[in-house]
């Protein structure tokens, strides 16, 4: 018995330690959400944000933009719930149902995966909590959510395809570095790019492989591809980090990025714009993360009962030269 008690004590001690660590982990970003609205004033609109958490530069910029827009000054109390890891859907579903149970006013959702959300969305609908999808879509009936606010992946990837067709009028052999399989963003970026080069002569797809959005896997994939296909001309990386990894692999193979192999990426993070300015990347299409204002707008309309369009497209830019990259950095368009 005494032994059991001691074990319980130890468990409690460890539990407390983990909690403390977890809190420390959160404190990096969401000081806005935690700072005390001790009065319990009912004026603030409570917004539950089921987020992805640290995944890359884009995600951070986007979630920061959302947090900044839903400030207390603007009349919101934002509860930020990042996933345990960027691929952990279960923790997101848990956070979602917690928000439903807590009867928040609005739920913002950036889903880690497209499928498996119907039940959760239904719960929210029964509780009459409007759900607004940010960035990523879900495979569910349109009636289950108010709107999806996102830059259009198909359009952004299409702009990469258009640029590629212009740059290689006679076609090229190319390789695609994909993100985590199964995400809607991966399918849409493929769709947009494929549509742009469809029917054009001379385009020879060497292959496609996931590099899980990370630079070191992007490097590993491309170095192996280059061994078998030294005549590779063009790499379409579905995010900046994989593109930067690809550039490292091209350099390590003794080729010159931009001359021997051109690399186009999507996102427009600061490191990618720097790489563009340095000539490592040839084309960066911005996937605009700064749409906090659009989200606030949609939330206000949804709460007022106004009609909101089912998809709200966030406009973005493209940068196609070292000079354009430098200019974008100077203007603070990176993130």
């Amino acid at each position: 018995m005494a032994h059991n008690k001691r074990m319980l004590g130890a468990l409690g001690f460890i539990g407390a330690g983990v909690l403390a660590l977890g809190l420390a982990g959160c404190s990096g970003g969401d000081d806005g959400a935690a700072s005390g609205d001790a009065g319990g004033d009912g004026d603030l609109t409570t917004v539950g944000f089921v987020a992805v958490g640290p995944e890359g530069g884009w995600r951070n910029a986007n979630e920061e933009a959302i947090k900044d827009a839903f400030s207390e000054e603007a009349g919101f109390d934002l509860k930020y719930a990042p996933a345990a890891s960027p691929t952990d859907q279960k923790s997101q579903i848990d956070a979602f149902s917690t928000f439903v149970n807590d009867e928040v006013d609005v739920i913002l959702l950036t889903a880690t995966e497209a499928s498996g959300w119907e039940d959760s969305l239904q719960l929210a609908q029964e509780a009459e909590i409007p759900v607004i999808l940010l960035d990523r879509g879900v495979d569910a009936d349109e009636d289950l959510y108010v709107t999806r606010i996102a830059p259009d992946n198909v359009k952004v990837a299409g702009s990469v395809g258009d640029w590629a067709v212009q740059t290689y009028p006679e076609g090229a052999s190319y390789y695609v570095l994909e993100g985590v399989p199964g995400l809607s963003v991966v399918n849409e970026r493929n769709e947009g790019f494929d549509a742009a080069i469809e029917g054009k002569d001379g385009w020879n797809k060497i292959g496609a492989q996931t590099a899980n959005w990370t630079a070191d896997e992007g490097k590993s994939v491309i170095e192996t591809v280059l061994k078998d296909n030294p005549d590779l001309q063009f790499i379409f990386a579905q995010n900046d980090e994989m593109g930067i990894g690809a550039a490292a692999a091209v350099t390590a193979a003794g080729l010159v990025p931009g001359t021997d192999v051109k690399i186009a990426t999507i996102d427009g993070t600061t490191p990618a714009l720097e790489a563009l300015a340095a000539g490592d990347l040839s084309f960066v299409a911005q996937y605009n993360p700064f749409f906090g204002d659009l989200a606030v707008d949609a939330v206000n309309k949804a709460l007022a009962g106004d009609s909101v369009e089912k998809t709200i497209v966030v406009p973005g830019e493209t940068f196609d030269s070292a000079e354009a990259g430098q200019a974008a950095i100077d203007e603070g368009k990176g993130f």
């Binding site: 990370t214 070191d216 896997e217 590993s220 490292a248 003794g254």
Partner: protein, 363 residues
């Protein structure tokens, strides 16, 4: 004949066969697969085999640490997160020092990364050896906590840095071999000598077989348990350093993600029993090489991303089945040795092999 038999019963023998078959398949796809040449532009040797050796270095490191933890009947689920911590500390240090050519900055980064990993490993050791928690739970906690710590260190950002000496860890070569692989093998040899030329390895195994009995025999389990968890964390941190030096950027959620499973797989393929009580350093190293070869084969064959996990699982299952004596004798129709009672179903690893075999392996 008996040599062949011994080889067939050595688990890592089948891992070597697996590596050979994978390389053969790649060579069939492209006959120049195994060729190694000098790159005229960079002046360095290049080849698919060298790539495999390079990407195997982090796996070798985490598998080595995992080997000793598993030999004590424990498990360390935190090695993947520990890689992220090591990488995060190094990148953050290098980007703060901002000295692109300084060797001193490199050593500062490595030292800090190791120091933090040792502290976190000591917490694992404390939970397991002193508090008496299950290793699975203790290291599961650390797996989550360490990932959080990596995020705190880098402020949640994927941090990059410039430091040429550090970049050379993964991108440089020593006598034509990738630097990270040479360092990894050197660490393996040093630790193997230390484990097998002193009684330490034997003590670790005895704790895995029966902690109570080994205590009665005069072995104090606590310091040894502490030691294996600290060693595992430190080696994982080194693996993280190799991993981030590839592109000089740490991805707080991507670096080392799910690598603990690769490490456990490498250890099991190498013939270290999950039930504890014996370990094979050589086996784990070969297991790590197999996993690296498998990862690169998937890329080289151009297997669709969606089918990759299934393909890997298939290869591993075939390999594990081949390692099982029972399946082998069934498949090849050999009669069982007379007088051997049909023991309980053996999982993946042949445990009937005598422990003394292990010594030949390492020596």
């Amino acid at each position: 004949m008996s040599r062949v038999k011994t080889a067939l019963r050595t688990p890592w023998f089948w891992a070597i066969i697996g590596i050979a078959v994978l390389l053969l398949i790649n060579t069939i796809k492209n006959p120049a697969y195994l060729a190694v040449s000098v790159n005229p532009t960079t002046g360095m040797l290049t080849g698919n085999v060298l790539d495999i050796l390079r990407v195997s270095a982090p796996i070798i490191m985490i598998a080595l640490g995992m080997t000793f933890v598993i030999a004590t009947k424990g498990i360390d689920l935190s090695v993947g997160s520990m890689m992220a911590v090591g990488g995060a500390v190094a990148m953050e240090t290098l980007s703060t020092l901002n000295d692109p050519t300084s060797v001193g900055a490199m050593f500062t980064a490595i030292g800090l990364a190791l120091a933090l990993a040792i502290v976190l490993g000591a917490i694992n050791g404390l939970l397991v050896a002193v508090v008496g928690l299950q290793p699975f739970i203790s290291t599961l906690i650390m797996m989550m906590a360490a990932r959080g710590i990596a995020r705190v260190i880098t402020d949640g950002q994927n941090t990059n840095a410039t430091n040429e000496p550090f970049r050379q860890l993964a991108n440089g070569q020593i006598l034509g071999l990738p630097t990270s692989f040479v360092i990894a093998i050197a660490i393996v040899v040093i630790i193997a000598l230390f484990m097998r030329r002193t009684a330490l390895g034997l003590m670790i195994e005895s704790i895995g077989i029966n902690p109570h009995a080994s205590r009665l025999a005069g072995i104090r389990p606590r310091p040894i348990l502490f030691g294996v968890y600290i060693l595992s964390a430190a080696l994982a941190s080194v693996g993280g350093l190799f991993s981030v030096s590839e592109v000089m950027t740490v991805s707080v959620s991507g670096t080392g993600n799910l690598m603990e499973l690769d490490a456990i797989l490498a250890v099991v393929i190498g013939g270290t029993s999950l039930a504890g009580g014996k370990f094979s350093i050589l086996g784990s190293t070969i297991g790590a090489l197999l996993i690296a070869t498998l990862n690169k084969t998937v890329l080289f064959l151009g297997i669709p991303a969606a089918a990759t996990p299934a393909f890997k699982a298939l290869v591993i299952i075939v390999l594990v089945l081949l390692q099982s004596e029972r399946v082998r004798s069934f498949a090849f129709g050999r009669s069982k040795t007379k007088g051997t009672p049909p023991g309980p179903p053996k999982p993946t690893v042949d445990r009937s092999a005598p422990v003394s075999k292990e010594k030949e392996v390492v020596a």
